[in-house]
Amino acid sequence: MREIAYEDIVKAVKNMVLHTATNLPEDALKKLKEAHEKEKSPVAKKVLEQLLENAEIARTEKRPLCQDTGLAVYFVKLGQDVRITGGLLKDAINEGTEQGYIEGYLRASTCDCFTRENLKDVIGYNLPAIIHLDLVEGDKLEIAYAAKGGGSENVSRARVLAPAQGRDGVIEFVKSVISEAGPNPCPPIIVGVGIGGTFEKAAISSKYALFREAGEPHPDPAVAEFEKELLYELNKLGIGAMGMGGTETVLAVHVEKHPCHIASLPVSVNVQCHSSRHNHITL
């Protein structure tokens, strides 16, 4: 059994939260630069220029990239040979999240669903974090984090299609979601698609898909081919940066596929805005 101390997790999570708020990851930055080069619309090109400038200001002046510093979402892989000492893993992640959001002057954006009361003084500053936990082989603790903004979550959709709708049905559904979203999720966007499993499995897969390096193809060549096809189809929509019209709407499409029930074809589309604040640590 390898031991990992509660306090070490808190500290590592806090530092990751702080760093991610002001530093756009390399993969997203690279994709934005490519889009800026390729964009044909002068208005959209200007927007992309602002986004690159924004990333530079955020990094050098340590200002949050976006005022929506998101809900904190984690995918955690806990090796079965690890024992956490001094407290619960979930508490450590929440505590690190809270400390990071307070120290970085980030926004507390969690509220009660109905009263809309901000929960910063009730549960904690920007708490609770959304934590997906998986038990895996080994003696490491891997924590992947995303600061997930509301604008792009609001346009995300899930639906269970009929098996007969097949591959074309999936393409049609994804296209309809992105088309309807238009300017609202701050394009250019990254699109996560979860296909198969059950209703909730598809939704979680579509979120997990967004944790991949932007533009890295799926290891299965057939799925990677499907990603390419979707990317091509979505960019035909002409939405462009901030929806003002343009050729570069989607920076990457990531698909995760899972076997499903003989009676159903679940699909979920989770949208990530250009401010793709992701990071991960391994302890």
């Binding site: 619309s41 986004l51 955020a58 005022q67 929506d68 604008g151 300017p183 002409g238």
Partner: protein, 186 residues
Amino acid sequence: MSQVHYLKTPLTDEDVMNLKAGDIVYLSGVMFTARDAAHKRLVDLIENKEELPFQLDGAVIYFVGPTPPKPGEPIGSAGPTTSYRMDSYSPILIKHGLKGMIGKGKRNQDVKDACKKYKAVYFGATGGAGALLGKLIKEAEVIAYEELGPEAIRMIRVENFPVTVINDAYGNDLYEEGRAKYEVKD
């Protein structure tokens, strides 16, 4: 062709009528920040014929919920929030003198109609450019509803704040026009 304008707030009818969807505008002067919760309160005040916390005549409202300011700074990161949440309130404010709104994302037909009828415009600012836009806000002061935190109404002073006209007072919509231009039909 898209034109570039430099305008000072408050905006006049003439300012508004000179703007066309797709134009780029650099705004300077005083503006007010408000999101849905604050909008609801403003509309309630109007309906009860009570006094508003600021002059609506010619005003520009920026839909934003900034991050907390660091010590010594007027405001944190401050990019636009999605505007449709304000759609049910904006027409009433426009009727009572509001001339400009800044946000991101689509507006409904009621808002577009109100812009046409009462001469107002909806501007888009670059969503997610919070660090860049926050820097252009030189002063900020909470003037109402402090208890709403990021949603409180702030009076802000901006310098050359870059926005694009999405819905003008002639019924044009840049989101529709821009997209139609670049859409590839099968």
